[in-house]
Amino acid sequence: MAEFLQALAQGLLIGSTYGLLALGMGLVYGVSGVVNFSHGDFISLGMFLCLALYSALALDPYVSLVITVPLMTVIGGLVYWYLLRPMVGHQFLMVVQLTLGLSLVLQNGILMVFGGQPARTPSVVESKLLILGDVVVRVPHVIAFVVSFAMAIGLYIMLRSTDFGRSIRAVHQNAHAAALMGIDVSRVQTLTFALGIGILAIAAALLLPGTPIQPAQGLRYTVITLIVVALGGMTNFVGIMLGGLIIGLSEAYGTIYLSDTLGMLLPYGIFVLIMLFRPQGLTWSSSR
């Protein structure tokens, strides 16, 4: 039973961060139809920026956010404006290929600067534990859980009741009509992409304490994020956070109760089954 609760806590805490990773991608897909295969490499970029700030100025990853969030937001905006915006209206696959090219550039840019050795970025809370009865959880995971849900709620409120949020929803529902209403669609798409990358900077710092990082990890994060977004459905924030929790839990339970291999297969298996038997959770299954 203790094992069960431990895995439950672990899965929920990690899963919430997966949900946050996926929110950024879902937002971008909803507004501009871009599926960003360099998503995971932007997470890497966020993590390595924290590492650089720690090595140079001895900043804690959580403090580095003051610098990394604005920086990544600007990078995201520039990437959309100069690389992705010209591709609007072209084949879906071409845009995907472009983001794959971007993934190569980011991953190897990081490799050139930091080298290929796995690295760690220490944090003051890294080794602190929280003990609740039989369950032991690490403090960074609790911080990640709280911040992820706070961010999700914040984004939800922003979408519901600010002008920027309304323009995002308008472009999502019908870009053409939104343009006729005087909304600058390119601008909204660029800002949304920038926002999505900015969120990644936060997610990166949340995942960082205690996690060894290396430049080649990007694709794995991209795949997890894609799976979570697909599970949750596009605009459905609750669905995406739920998708994150499902993947987090299946990873945690799979590695405890099944063999290593089967445990790693479990999230993918669950994903395939849900995609096949509950496609109504996906808004894009209707827009074939």
């Binding site: 690389l83 190569l104 190897n108 063999s259 993918y268 395939v272 096949l276």
Partner: protein, 330 residues
């Protein structure tokens, strides 16, 4: 319809290729021969993928499973059970074909959208990697080492360099010709109809399941055979190279950059990008790790921004624009 195919078959270009193939390889330093062989491998793979990804419009990322089956299973059968590699090639191809049929059936039965299909096949590809890494019979994470190539044809050995070159040349040309044949056969028309409007295709009575399965099975078996030949050339069956989603992502990249759905587009993309990648690696790989892939990524982005429909259509446009001018100046 068939005439197009025979015309292609009778084209004098093949004679030129044959002469070049007979003369050049012995003259090339082994490093450049390796680049040529590698390019041919990817020409073959990208063309095989094109049957599903280009003509039928199904962006399958599960092809790493077929390549991986062709490579890892035939190697494992030889090393663990002593099965002749020719037989292993056939067994792997049949299993790959069955997996392909299953994936096509799932796609049809559950009416997957484009993006759902991409994601589900990506999940299959990831599952394949995890299974191979965790299953000792297929070599686990450390891979399998084939016995040295002694040039014994009956044991699926072709004598390294030049022999491998011929095998890959045959496979690449076969793969391209199968593309040409399908494009000009009823199957090709059905596939393009399904790609462009599945509902309309269904309405005029196209048997969607049959053609989707046919395309996937042909493509899967071809990929598997190429996988077996590739691993024989490499000698080392490395799961991280042959079963990882990265190999299929590269193939899709070549096919898209070259020009999707055309007979020669994917081959063109592979012929351009593989040597570029290899030469960059050779020249810059030693200086700063990552630099050659960095430049490669920049080139890919630049090419896509320059010609979002693929390079082959772009060249055709240039060519057709340049020709009338040349005619008038004469």
């Amino acid at each position: 319809m068939r005439q197009e195919f025979y015309k292609t078959l009778m084209s004098p270009v093949w004679l030129v290729i044959l002469v070049l193939a007979a003369v050049l390889p012995p003259l090339l330093p082994s490093y450049y021969l390796h680049i040529v062989i590698l390019s041919l491998v990817y020409v073959a793979l990208a063309s095989a993928w094109n049957i599903v990804g280009g003509m039928a419009g199904q962006i399958s990322l599960a092809h790493s499973l077929f390549i991986g089956t062709g490579a890892m299973l035939s190697t494992a059968l030889l090393l663990k059970l002593g099965v002749n590699m020719w037989l292993g090639l056939v067994i792997s191809a049949v299993i790959s074909g069955a997996m392909g049929a299953m994936i096509a059936w799932i796609d049809f039965r559950f009416q997957l959208g484009h993006l759902s299909f991409v994601l589900i096949t990506l999940a299959f590809a990831e599952m394949g990697t995890v299974i191979v890494e965790g299953w000792d019979f297929l070599g686990g994470a450390s891979g399998l080492l084939l016995p040295q190539d002694k040039g014994d044809f009956l044991a699926f050995q072709f004598g390294g360099g030049i022999g491998a070159f011929w095998v890959m040349l045959v496979l690449a040309i076969a793969s391209i010709l199968i593309n040409v044949a399908i494009l000009n056969a009823p199957l090709g028309y059905y596939l393009r109809t399904i790609r462009d409007n599945e509902n309309a295709a269904r309405a005029i009575g196209v048997n969607i399941l049959r053609y989707k399965v046919a395309a996937m099975v042909i493509s899967a078996m071809l990929s598997s055979v190429i996988g077996t030949a590739y691993v024989r050339y490499l000698t080392f069956a490395d799961p991280y190279l042959l079963v990882s989603p990265i190999i299929i992502i590269e193939i899709v990249l070549f096919a898209t950059v070259g020009g999707l759905g055309r007979a020669y587009g994917p081959a063109f993309g592979a012929l351009l990008l593989v040597p570029l990648g290899e030469i960059l690696r050779g020249k810059l790989g030693g200086t700063l790790p990552g630099l050659h892939y960095f430049i490669y990524g920049v080139v890919v982005i630049a090419v896509i921004l320059m010609s979002p429909r693929g390079l082959l259509p772009l060249f055709e446009k240039w060519f057709s624009r340049a020709r009338p001018k040349a005619a008038t100046t004469k």
